[in-house]
């Protein structure tokens, strides 16, 4: 369960917590797109500002990253791939492997940009209640034809709610099998099938229970709509983000 505890909403009263989720989503899109084209100075400035925001909103960045340890492995692979695939004057040359200063710089920049986007996501998720994210997604999807925005929002909510439950179930199933020495079986297909089928069966059983529970509480698609109100502070925040995007681009 710990894997999902820090990378999720953390109740608070900072300005960041109070900004309308639609404005936050637009800001994140702008900042992410801009950061893809930034270099050292721009990335440095954005990182410092983001860390300041995280400090101000008292968000646990360290535990967030602890949960993203597998993502950091992916970053390392991207870095190595970038370093090895940049053909410049070699700094080190070993048989077929060429390592150059531009390659290393290129690798660092790509990883930095990705980390920045992940931190933006972390700030967004940590300061926005799931219901507000759902409401914003519903609002954005409303004008899109052929997409049932209320259903999509509900599905999102249920996924967020049930992911920890399913992970718990997976952990319990794995432990029950370890207790019966499944580790002695070396065939991965055997182990996967013995783990996967009970987990899927239990997940479907839970889904059945969930349907009954929702029906018992008079579930309908035509529910009270979520409430979103944009105020002056939201527009000011968006303007600040826009100005920042322009500034770091020309820096």
């Amino acid at each position: 369960m710990a894997e999902l505890t820090a990378f999720s909403y953390i109740a608070g009263h900072s300005t960041l917590h109070r900004i309308d989720p639609r404005f936050k989503i637009i800001s994140i899109i702008f900042l992410s797109l801009v950061s893809l084209n930034l270099y050292l100075r721009g990335l440095g400035l954005l990182t410092v500002l983001l860390l300041g925001v995280i400090f101000y909103a008292r968000l646990p960045l360290a535990s967030g990253f602890k949960e993203l340890r597998y993502f950091l492995i992916l970053l390392l692979l991207i870095f190595v791939a970038r370093v090895l695939s940049t053909d410049e004057t070699p700094l080190i040359y070993l048989k077929y492997i060429t390592i150059s200063i531009p390659g290393i710089t290129n690798g660092i920049l790509v990883c930095w940009r990705l980390v920045l986007i992940v931190i933006l996501g972390f700030v967004f998720i940590s300061t926005t209640p799931p219901s507000a994210i759902k409401a914003a997604v519903q609002w954005f999807l409303k004008p899109v034809p052929f997409i049932p925005e209320k259903k999509v929002a509900l599905m999102m909510g249920l996924i967020m709610r049930f992911m920890p439950v399913i992970l718990d179930q997976a952990r319990e199933t794995a432990q029950a099998q370890k207790a019966r020495a499944v580790e002695n079986r070396k065939n991965p297909v055997y182990r996967l099938s013995k783990f996967g089928f009970p987990l899927i069966r239990r997940t479907f059983e839970r889904a059945d229970d969930l349907v009954a529970a929702m029906e018992a509480r008079a579930f309908t698609e035509h529910r009270t709509d979520p409430e979103l109100t944009a105020g002056k502070k939201d527009w000011v925040a968006l303007m600040v983000v826009c100005c920042l995007c322009v500034f770091v681009t020309i820096l």
């Binding site: 249920l158 709610r161 229970d209 009270t224």
Partner: protein, 249 residues
């Protein structure tokens, strides 16, 4: 006045098994009924007809005089149901959102939804955990949250399906206390269990089920002698010839 009237109710599942078999039963407004029986005796199947989660193969179920089949929405408002596995019942990503789920389905105005949520959270003592994520709650807190979700719909009947299963002693006492408060505030309470020990001291009626039928129905003290014949353990106090004692004492 009878809040629930069941006439000749039978339910046959798709695989041909008979879940409940020709049951007729009236439940008085404000009463506290315990339905006991072995696993598979038809308790849950019977309960699920009360708010239309299952519809009768034959027979009728009426709530406050109106057929459940004819007005499913009213049935789901009138009868709140707490399931055995509270985890599967909680649909919100936070405690507040979960309690708001029912009132939002009733399309109440936003401020009305808020009022009901705050009232329900206060009633079960979870106000301080309104922004907590449900999967971080203890077993007892999850069940109280499930009760709050029901209370926010302002039902007249509350049905508890095995409310004490896999709970520790303090958790059982909390839930029992909550059930008694709800009963005192005028709700009709129906509890199913195969373990009478924890609840029977507070019930004014005991119904025994076996093989999908009602085999005994009466005051707990009057039919207690027969419970073990239908696979239900007689509570300790009754074994010793004493009166039932509450788990809250």
């Amino acid at each position: 006045m009878n809040i629930i009237e069941i006439e000749n109710l039978s339910h046959r599942f798709a695989d041909g098994t008979l879940g409940v078999d020709n049951i007729s039963l009236n439940i008085r407004q404000g009463s506290f009924v315990v339905i006991a029986g072995l696993n598979g005796s038809g308790k849950t199947t019977l309960l699920r007809h009360l708010n239309g989660l299952l519809l009768p193969t034959s027979g009728t179920v009426r709530l406050a005089g109106i057929s459940v089949e004819r007005n499913l929405l009213q049935a789901r408002q009138l009868v709140g149901m707490m399931f055995q596995d509270a985890d599967s019942q909680i649909v919100g990503e936070t405690v507040y959102e979960d309690v708001a789920f029912g009132p939002e389905n009733l399309r109440l105005e936003r401020d009305m939804v808020q009022n009901r949520v705050l009232m329900a959270l206060r009633a079960v003592g979870l106000s301080t955990l309104a922004h907590q994520r449900p999967h971080l709650l203890s077993g007892g807190e999850k069940r109280r949250l499930a009760i709050a979700g029901i209370l926010a719909m302002e039902p007249r009947v509350i049905v508890f399906d095995e409310p004490f299963s896999s709970m520790d002693y303090p958790g059982i006492k909390q839930i029992l206390q909550q059930i008694l408060v709800l009963h005192r505030s005028g709700h009709t309470i129906i509890v199913t269990t195969h373990d009478l020990e924890k609840i029977i001291a507070h019930a004014d009626r005991l119904i025994l089920m076996h093989g999908g039928k009602i085999v005994r129905d009466g005051k707990p003290a009057e039919i207690m002698a027969d419970v073990e014949a239908f696979g239900v353990r007689k509570p300790c106090t009754f074994r010793m010839g004493l009166a039932a004692e509450s788990w809250l004492n």
